[in-house]
Amino acid sequence: MISENKKFPKRKFIKFTLIFSVLLIFMLVGTFFMLNQEKKIDYSADVKPIINKKCISCHGGVKKKAGFSLLFESEALSPTESGKPAIIPFHADSSEFIKRLLVHDVEERMPYHEAPLSMDEINIFRKWINQGAKFSMHWAYQTIENPTVPSFGIFSIFNEKKNNDIDAFIDEKLNHIGLSRSEQADKQSLLRRVSLDLIGMPANETLSTSFLNNSSSKAYDILIDSLLSSNAYGEKWAGMWMDIARYADTKGYERDGGRSIWRYRDWLIKSFNKDLPYNKFLTEQIAGDLLPNPSDDQYIATAFHRNTMTNDEGGTDNEEYRTAAIIDRVNTTWQTLLGTSFACVQCHSHPYDPFKHEEYYNFMAYFNNSRDEDTYNDYPLLREFKNNSKLKFDSLINWLGIYTDKNSLNYYKTMIKTSEPTINSLVADSMVNAALADTKFLAMRKSSWARIKSVSLSGKKILLIRYYAGTKNGKLNIHLNDAKSNPFLKIDIPATKGWNIISLPIKEMNGVYNIVFHYENQLLKSKDDTGITFDWIALADTFPGENDNKRSYFQDMYFNLLNSPEADYTPIMMDNPTDMYRKTHVFERGNWLLKTKEVHTGIPAIFNPDKNLEKNRLGLAKWLIDKKNPLTSRTMVNRVWEQLFGQGLVETLEDLGSQGASPTHKELLDHLSYKFMNDFNWSVKKLLSYIVHSSTYMQSTKASKKMMEKDALNKYYARSPRLRLSAEQIRDQALAVCGKLNSTMYGPSVKPYQPEGIWASPYDGEKWIQSSSENFYRRALYTYWKRTSPYPSMVNFDGSAREVCVARRIRTNTPLQALTILNDSTYWDLSFQYAKTLYPKNNEEKSIMLAYKKATGKEISKDALQTMKTLYEKTYAKLNKDPNISMEMIAMKANKQNNSLAALTVVINSILNLDEVITKS
């Protein structure tokens, strides 16, 4: 430069200097201007967090002190009680909102009687108002766009291998904190990790060997595909979903009796295994019953929301617990499928997020028209016919097909398969000398009256009654509306053997009537003796085929199937027909007894839902799976990420809203969510395969000092996380490692070993009767789950009672966990069984090496082997000294070989306890 300058003539040089100076001035001015120009304030990122922390508890969805609320834009900019708005866009200094943050008088200054805001915070508010006080929607409520994948161009400082775009998003953040990704984990570790993640236990011998011996670049792809197509995959992911669905084998509350809902668990396994796209997976669970011509499977899918609890305790109000179940469905739907804490909207508008009180009840209306009424039998139930009943069903439907149109045939199909629509007797009221026996069934005594309110008789020609009569010669008179009117029907009631169905022709009537039962029976000794118990009544059209000589044969078959078929029963969702429609009201402050305004189905306004959606659960399902729904895909992707990495991209799986944790990698979440819906067509397998193929996933878990300093909690994934296995994985892995796993799938839940005296529910003779020995070794998800007394060893590892949905389990590390694997007979028995297969075929040392390898997937280190050998020797020496010990330990007489076996059992049990074994690494 200098030498070139020399060549310039002086004048030119002056000119150049001048131009240069002008340029410089421009640049300086420009810089000055740029520096002075206010940074654009982002409402969601900058303003909303301060509001949530400092203002919203008094000026939000719950309290609106001085008539001022910051929750909704419209509210924030409207006049307050003072008559003027507190925020005047573009005029921060004339906004009362800002003034009140600055005054010195503590009675005036906001936050009221709290520390003042910092100047930084006030300046954010000030700038935000001066820029127009624009509200924007929290990120999670904005439609999912496909974000640009970060690119580092040729200047990339990253030399790490990127397998797919996930790595680019991860690298971008790591770059900011000055870390970089770790090298790839060794093959053995990777094999164990991805097997535990995808199928919930170690891969089998064949698969493992073929992966480890395959040095081609395709080896990992083949492994992933094999794991994803193994049956065990569905079991692992069904197990995860069972927490969300609050699946249990009992009804909950007091006597906590059994419930047969395992077919839903099986449906989950099958659905995951056949990779039912997530949009269909949700639709069937939310509204399978409302799909055209629903299959048994689609009905069973709706058991998702029949996992709510039923209260059988005598004296409880069925309507109260029905309402509790409906509310649980609303909350579970939001918390688990939509990652939003909606429960607070039950009592008032959401304190932080833009949901109005009434919108809760609009949403509840989707669920409130369901048939279930906290009945003892968990009605409605789907019956899956077996044996003879199945044949009968098929032939009856064939025959009915001749005489009925499509609608009518559907009615019969539904009625036979579900016994609905019927009116449960527990809705009876105005009882005289009648009662709801144990608050479950209407029971009528010697001379008694009871009423069923508001029954539509329009177009109905027969009355069906399912009842049980213990005494013959009963007389049942049925009146309409007025108990003193002439009986509408008079029926003789003979004694029955168990439940019976009668069909009574009725006069054609139009309109809605109260049906009054009057029962008399002179044979009953005391006026307090019960003569007849009702299950349900139903109103229907006449049985078809009047001129067919087989009509009575088929009608008998119909009642027989309706009454007591050979079938498996599963609680399902069904809606009331139009003439039994249930109204929904807003509950004042969430109290179900204080019903106010009537409301109809609807999705919260901020989601701007399609107006043409059906006004039932099917409409709800369609909204859920609409690609414009900002929450569904994000929630599932976040959950899948959590399953693999131990924490979500948003830590609070249950709340992506403004009060939940901030996302660590928002763009990555959106990238995956977008891909999940569009590129993968909602295929969970494809999503999983994509993630486990990333270099991020495949990293080593070793933490350097630098990593511990900069990111101890591993939120940025410079290494793969080490995670303690879940309760289910710990059991399944031990079964697999010890070679005892019974891989039988499906069927009623089983009862493996459980210590004595764990179940002790009142009024319930149910006992934990251990399953047959082969069922001892089934995978954890088949273990019988009793809500008030869940399987203890699983609870010790953070399993939940599943009373309500568990959106995420919090991992703990406790001495009870140590005691469980050390002493639970299950693990001790497995250790012994395994020892027997290892020894004496192999010597002690070899046995230890093999056991360690099987449990961790890795060769044992010299030091670890030495440690375990020392344990073996100490134990063996002890056993040799005292011959009784072997006898006690493994119930075998003391000799050298058995002593070795016992000592080896101790070592194997210790191996099962190792951190390397109960941790995914």
Binding site: Q659, S704, A801, L822, S825, A864, V907, D915
Partner: protein, 496 residues
């Protein structure tokens, strides 16, 4: 070996830092967060713990409450099924006069009962009452032993609940809501205070009467709090704590050897991965080893002197309320924060002799009366009553009317569930002695003075432990949850 020790110590220190940070970060959101650190650095005397670092690995590390509490621990004696206040503490001579008369309409109009239908008859007290102690409080003949301790207790005569079914009412009493899913009182306390004794659980549950409470294990569950805060059920028969006992043939040496081996290999893993959770796991195995001695030791009542057995009426080896009460004393002596006893079988409907007020109910009174007074006397003689809050009660009370199940007169004298007013009592832990608070109307139906809610009971218990019940909170589902939900007021008049 020296080298290895050094690595181990270093690792422990780094883990301590990590855990401290983690606790601090986590608890910041809970409102008592700062105190976690205070407790950690405050030099608490750690019973039997030589290595201070160990406390850092324990989420149950002792914490300081909001203010110095008068009580260090709580023993909650829950008579599951709900005993009749009208045959124990709430003397109603007027009701006696009206025995057999139809219940006035005003009491039943618009009311719902669990089993009473139509118009029931009033039922006078099925026993005699007299005044006892210097305080002259009224006690029934069913509880003669209680006379000896009546001057140590405050009887709350007008407790009110809004649930009249067992499971929901028990849930309300212990978790602050009638539905399943919230943390229990003991979990909240353990979450707030940690445990003073690392070798024992911080929250212990003992049951008697042959059944679990109606609400199941949820009444000692941890709800949405981490499961480490849930109550640990200890048993007199079988394993005192599940999985505590080693497999047959094991002795201490062998268990020591196996835990040493496990921990040693885990140390190798730590060197490889630098993962602080591994150090935490090592500590948990150490604690497990200590618990194996500490729990059976505290659960063993064989070594108690004869006069103690005579006092309580205990016989070692069986599951009884008496044994449980003695265990409760031993547990609080060892620093356990919350001991919850459930005694099942108090549901005196009068449907059979076992639930008749003049039969089964009296038996229940007799099997517990001596025990309860023994517990109070025993705590007192050890100087423990001042710092131990003892709470007694059911989930609700019983109706002044005789039950007529489903509209039929019951065969035996019994009462239905009653939510409007019932009796509980508290003793020790800074509560007045010989005091009665609250009053019901002449038939014992409604509270007319000093009415307190279940939330008030909870607020008072927390207050005695040093907590502002409104500030012992946990962030969940987007909001701060607390035991008392949105309610509760400390019952000041009963505080000494």
């Amino acid at each position: 070996m020296d080298h290895q020790n050094k690595i181990f110590q270093e690792a422990k220190m780094s883990e301590l830092e990590f855990q401290t940070r983690r606790h601090f970060l986590k608890d910041c959101r809970t409102g008592i967060g700062m105190m976690a650190l205070g407790g950690l650095l405050g030099g608490c005397d750690f019973l039997g713990m030589s290595n201070k670092n160990e406390l850092a690995t324990n989420p149950l590390l002792p914490k300081i409450p909001h203010f110095p509490g008068k009580a260090k621990s709580v023993i909650f004696l829950h008579m599951a099924g709900a005993p009749s206040q009208l045959e124990m503490f709430d003397y109603k001579p007027e009701l006696q006069k009206m025995d057999g008369m139809d219940c006035p309409d005003s009491f039943i109009q618009g009311k719902k009962f669990a089993f009473i239908r139509g118009v029931p008859k009033l039922l006078g007290p099925q026993t005699n009452f007299n005044q006892y102690g210097e305080s002259g409080l009224w006690l029934s003949d069913n509880i003669p032993h209680f006379r000896k301790v009546v001057d140590d207790v405050t009887i709350l005569k007008a407790v009110n609940t809004d649930q009249f079914n067992h499971a929901p009412a028990q849930l309300l009493m212990h978790t602050g809501t009638a539905r399943l899913g919230r943390p229990s009182m003991g979990s909240w306390v353990t979450y707030g205070l940690g445990s003073e004794n690392n070798n024992l659980p911080g929250f212990v549950v003992l049951t008697s009467g042959g059944k679990n409470p109606d609400a199941g294990k949820s009444v000692w569950g941890s709800g949405f709090l981490p499961s480490v805060y849930q109550g640990v059920q200890c048993r007199s028969e079988g394993d005192p704590v599940l999985f505590l006992k080693d497999p047959k043939g094991f002795d201490r040496d062998l268990r020591r050897a196996s835990i040493d081996a496990i921990n040693k290999v885990n140390e190798f893993s730590y060197q490889e991965y630098n993962d602080p959770e591994i150090m935490s796991r090592i500590s948990q195995y150490e604690m497990a080893y200590k618990m194996q001695v500490a729990v059976p030791d505290v659960m063993n009542i064989n070594d108690e002197p004869q006069y103690i057995h005579d006092l309580y009426g205990t016989s070692p080896g069986e599951t009884s309320f008496a044994n449980n009460a003695l265990l409760a004393r031993k547990l609080v002596e060892k620093g356990v924060r919350f001991v919850q006893l459930f005694d099942w079988g108090w549901d005196s409907h009068g449907t059979d002799p076992g639930t008749a007020l003049d039969k089964g109910f009296i038996d229940k009174c007799h099997t517990t009366d001596k025990v309860v007074s023994a517990l109070l006397m025993d705590l007192k003689q050890r100087g423990l009553l001042d710092e131990t809050l003892v709470v007694w009660g059911g989930e609700f009370g019983r109706t002044p009317m005789q039950e007529n199940r489903d509209g039929k007169q019951n065969t035996y004298k019994g009462r239905d569930h009653h939510a409007e007013a019932f009796c509980m009592w508290m003793a020790g832990g800074g509560i007045k002695g010989g005091f009665s608070y609250g009053e019901t109307d002449p038939i014992g139906y409604n509270a007319i003075e000093g009415k307190v809610s279940v939330y008030d009971i909870q607020a008072t218990i927390l207050n005695q432990l040093g907590f502002n019940h409104e500030k012992l909170t946990y962030q969940f589902q987007g909001r701060e949850f607390r035991l008392t939900d949105l309610y509760g007021k400390v019952i000041d008049p009963i505080i000494a």
